[in-house]
């Protein structure tokens, strides 16, 4: 039933229903993750240890006639301790086993949200299945929205928010598919997605429409897609940074003889998370990976501005805050590269940078007027 203004109302309606359905399923996934954490707190927290190395030896020894090659690498860790990494392989055969045995407790990654509880593990698996289902509905919703107006579905804040939430989920699921140990991110991811979508459908909602001429450009696809991907990834980096700070505080409190985590949280939560060093590295990796893309986003925006308004940079509030965000992320990367600024201090910079990113997204669109104020709010 396409009408005069080029909007297919049936598809637009379908899109809304799919987004609501996705939200409901994300909510279930979130509860499932909460169960995972709850059950996990009852199971004992096992510490992964060098014992696993024996596994490697059994495997390697199973080739009776073949010689076994085995190397143990000693790695100096940041805290002054050492860890070891053992790689075992059969001579002239492909089979290799790598284990990382740990020499000290500081660097041990926790077992994840479910701890050793089987119920918790089941809840976690259910949560992931639900997240996958919700992501499919979500993709359907975003695609239907795009099809209903035959354009990229990110022309206003409602649409950005839906797409941004989707990239967060896809980044997370992508890491899981790549067999990265990130299931513990499930809860922060589902919470963020439910909040973002909730805000989108309530406060930011606008009907499916064609775009104002200012947004008629293939730069919309390039610049805004890049921005949306950056948003999802920066969020993941933020979650890892925040958890790093928590875990680090927890480690310090343990060292000081306290029995709870920061803000009186249960120690069991922190024990199940990866080691502070792992979280710290992960947050750096993510931020370092997105920074070039964010740079690209800003430059693409400048090129678009040149085509639309005749000047590539006018210090419009949106441009200004993108610049501020960029500079603070650059500060963070510099800080990491200099001694003495690793760890907590650099992490605070990362949090500040993400705060600027969020302000640029919500704050500037809603409270400040500038040339970018056609995002369809209010």
């Amino acid at each position: 039933m396409p009408n005069v203004s080029g909007v297919d109302l049936q598809l637009a309606d379908l899109s809304n229903k799919l987004i609501y359905a996705a939200m409901a399923v994300y909510l279930l996934a979130m509860f499932s993750h909460i169960f995972e954490w709850t059950f996990g707190s009852k199971g004992a927290v096992a510490v992964r240890s060098a014992e696993q190395a024996t596994l490697a030896e059994t495997v390697a020894a199973s080739g009776p006639a073949k010689a076994v090659k085995k190397v143990t690498v000693t790695v100096a860790s940041a805290g002054g301790g050492t860890t070891t990494l053992t790689r075992t392989a059969l001579a002239d055969a492909g089979a290799t086993v790598v284990t990382s045995g740990r020499g000290d407790n500081d660097d041990v990654d926790g077992p994840g949200a479910a701890g050793t509880s089987e119920k918790g593990d089941l809840a976690g698996r259910i949560a992931i299945s639900l997240t996958v289902l919700a992501a499919l509905l979500h993709i359907g919703g975003v695609v239907a929205r795009g099809l209903s107006v035959s354009r990229w579905p990110w022309g206003n804040m409602y649409e950005f928010s839906c797409a941004f939430a989707l990239t967060t989920v896809l980044a997370y699921l992508g890491l899981l598919v790549a067999k990265k140990n990130v299931r513990w991110l499930g809860l922060p991811v589902t919470v963020a997605v439910v909040l973002t979508l909730g805000l989108a459908v309530s406060v930011l909602y606008t009907e499916s429409e064609q775009l104002v001429p200012a947004l008629h450009s293939y730069w919309l696809a390039i610049h805004v897609s890049a921005a949306i991907i950056c948003g999802g990834a920066f969020y993941a980096g933020f979650a890892a940074t925040a958890l790093y700070l928590g875990k680090d505080s927890y480690d310090r409190r343990m060292a000081a003889g306290l029995t709870t985590g920061p803000f009186g949280t249960s120690a069991s939560i922190w024990q199940r998370l990866p080691a502070a060093a792992t979280l710290d590295k992960l947050s750096y990796r993510i931020n370092a990976l997105v920074f070039p893309l964010w740079t690209f986003t800003i430059i693409a925006g400048a090129i678009w501005a040149e085509a639309a308004w005749g000047k590539y940079w006018e210090w419009d509030p949106k441009e200004t805050w993108s610049f501020i965000t960029w500079v603070i992320y650059a500060c963070y990367l510099h800080a990491r590269a200099t001694a003495g600024w690793k760890g907590r201090k650099a992490a605070y910079l990362a949090l500040l940078a993400f705060a600027c990113f969020l302000f640029n997204y919500y704050g500037v669109n809603i409270f400040v007027t500038g040339k970018h104020s056609y995002a369809g709010v209010g």
Binding site: A302, W309, G310, K311, W313, I324, H334
Partner: protein
């Protein structure tokens, strides 16, 4: 470890702690007198710590400009803001808070940052060229001090093991050097290349910006359908130049606006929202205005004509009106641009009839003020004259008439959109202000025998921004290089691996492998383990008697260095 107490630690051992190839920084002034202090100041300015502070200050300094109205964006808003905040406005003015991005303090921060950058990056570039020309640095004396380390004993000869290690490292893409009984190798130089490229491109960006602000200019022009424009100072409505680009430098070209198409949303939430604007023009460049080329200009698609870019920035309606005097002579005929007041293009405008001639033996001029409504509301009693939709679905023209002296002969420049009624009287009819509401084709007989006005129809106008901006290509190249540099800088891992096979006193050969990551997140341990396992094909490990195993020589604790 006894051998290290008497020895200065190697360079590599020092960097091992910092996981970076950034130069070491010194805190105290060294040397004496002014030179010493100058050197110290320079070293401070080019230090990473100061770079960090400057970067942070830059981000802070950018904030006020996003919250306080800026002259560069909207001088009108600035003026209003000043009226509303009379107490702080003068202070803000002094602090250049209405011109943040060209203020002394903002400029000082970024100039210092760029000086710091030059002082940091240029020496690094030379240093890096030196590194590329030299062999990878030789193995440190004590490999166990390196952050990653592995060792085993083998029956193979030391020489053969070293040679095999050299080959394997080469095959893995390392730059390797076999000398003095050990192999030194390094990989990931692209990281440094990327880092240097990125920082140097920032200069290209700055140069592009600088050039643009010195040698660019722009002007605005409103053109009614069917009319033409040539790019000269006299024809431009307004112009802002710069140090190297004045009115005499305007690029020679011109164009004719054949017609303007617009379309609007007709249903739903967003009724009246614009969907398409296109200005269809024919243009010429140089002196020859007869060779015309067709072109379209849309909101996101400027047209490049002879060194300038022409942008479509606005549009509106121009009612076509014919005025006849009492004798029935046509004294005015044509379109007059009216300016939009709202998103439905309720427009206001002024028609000045300066060649009216004489009335009652006196030289007289006529002036009209009015509204043009592309889709007029059916009833104005509550709303006043407003348009309900930006498209011309039901166009109407509301006019008031004035007679007298327009003031156009005084020689002073006049605003064409305003009527100076100082020397004019408003026409009255039946004791009330004379006023009319016209549909296209309708006419109005003016009171007191002033003649007639007919509303013949309506045309559209488009306004253009003509902009000459050099330096874009430089800035763009800088930007692209910056991104490429960043990708290399942040994703390539630079690392060194050393292998040393030496004959142990018991006749066997001790193979030591050590690595040093020169950037964060290096997977150096995995890489080293892989290499070592491969190397065991050439140097099979012999079963260790636990008491003599090299694992016993635990690497020195890095933090307890003497």
């Amino acid at each position: 470890m006894s051998d290290t107490t008497t020895r200065q630690p190697d360079d590599d051992e020092l960097t091992a702690e910092r996981l970076t190839s950034a130069p070491l920084e010194q805190d105290n002034p060294s040397g004496i007198g002014v030179i010493g202090w100058l050197r110290w100041t320079w070293r401070q300015l080019t230090s990473m710590r100061v770079a960090l502070i400057l970067l942070f200050m830059l981000s802070l300094a950018a904030i006020p400009g996003s919250l306080i109205p800026q002259n560069s964006q909207n001088a009108f808003k600035v003026a209003n803001w000043k009226l509303a905040h009379t107490t702080v406005a003068p202070i803000y003015q002094k602090l250049q808070l209405f011109d943040v991005y060209s203020s002394v303090w903002f400029s000082a921060i970024y100039l210092l940052l760029f000086i710091s950058l030059a002082g940091c990056i240029i020496p690094r570039t030379w240093q890096f060229v030196g590194v590329l020309r030299a062999q990878p640095p030789a193995a440190p004396a004590n490999l166990t001090r390196m952050p990653v380390y592995a060792a085993w004993h083998t029956e193979a000869g030391a020489k053969a093991v070293n040679a095999a290690a050299y080959q394997r490292l080469k095959r893995r893409g390392f730059r390797a050097n076999l000398a003095g009984g050990s192999v030194a190798s390094e990989k990931g130089y692209l990281r440094e290349v990327g880092n240097l490229l990125f920082h140097l491109s920032l200069f290209a960006l700055l140069a592009g910006f600088g050039w643009a602000s010195l040698a660019s200019g722009q002007g605005g022009k409103l053109v009614i359908e069917g009319q033409g424009y040539s790019n000269t100072m006299t024809q431009l409505d307004d112009f802002t130049g710069s140090a190297l680009y004045g009115p005499e430098d305007l690029d020679p070209f011109g164009f004719k606006l054949d017609n303007f198409t617009s379309s609007y949303q007709t249903t739903g939430d967003h009724v009246g929202e614009a969907r398409e604007f296109t200005a269809h023009i024919r243009y010429w460049t140089g002196e020859d205005s007869t060779k015309l080329t067709k072109g379209d200009i849309q909101v996101n698609q400027p047209l490049e004509i002879g060194g300038s870019k022409v942008f479509l920035i606005g549009h509106g309606y121009a009612p076509v009106v014919t005025v006849r005097n009492a004798k029935g002579e046509q004294v005015y005929s044509g379109p007059t641009a009216f300016l939009p007041q709202d998103s439905n293009l309720t427009s206001t405008g002024v028609i000045k009839v300066s060649d009216y001639g004489e009335k009652d033996g006196k030289k007289t001029q006529l002036g009209f003020t009015g509204f043009f409504l592309p889709t007029a509301a059916p009833d104005f009693t509550k709303t006043g004259p407003v348009s309900l939709f930006p498209g011309a679905a039901d166009p109407k023209l509301v006019l008031n008439a004035f007679a007298g002296d327009l003031g156009t002969d005084s020689g002073l420049p006049q605003n064409v959109y305003q009527l100076d009624t100082k020397h004019m009287t408003q026409l009255q009819q039946d004791g009330q202000i004379a006023k009319v509401l016209l549909k296209p084709g309708q006419g109005w007989t003016l009171p007191n025998g002033y003649g007639t006005v007919t509303f013949d129809g309506v045309q559209q106008w488009a306004s253009f921004n003509v902009s000459h901006r050099p330096g874009n290509a430089v800035a763009l190249t800088g930007a692209i290089c910056a991104i490429l540099g960043l990708v290399g800088s942040l994703n390539v891992r630079r690392r060194r691996i050393w292998v040393r096979a030496t004959e142990a006193p018991d006749g066997r050969t001790l193979v030591e492998v050590a690595g040093l990551a020169r950037s964060e997140s290096a997977k150096i341990a995995e890489e080293l383990a892989e290499l070592a396992v491969d190397l065991q094909d050439d140097a099979p490990a012999v079963d260790e008697d636990p008491s003599t195993a090299p694992e016993d020589t635990v690497p020195a604790d890095l933090n307890s260095k003497e």
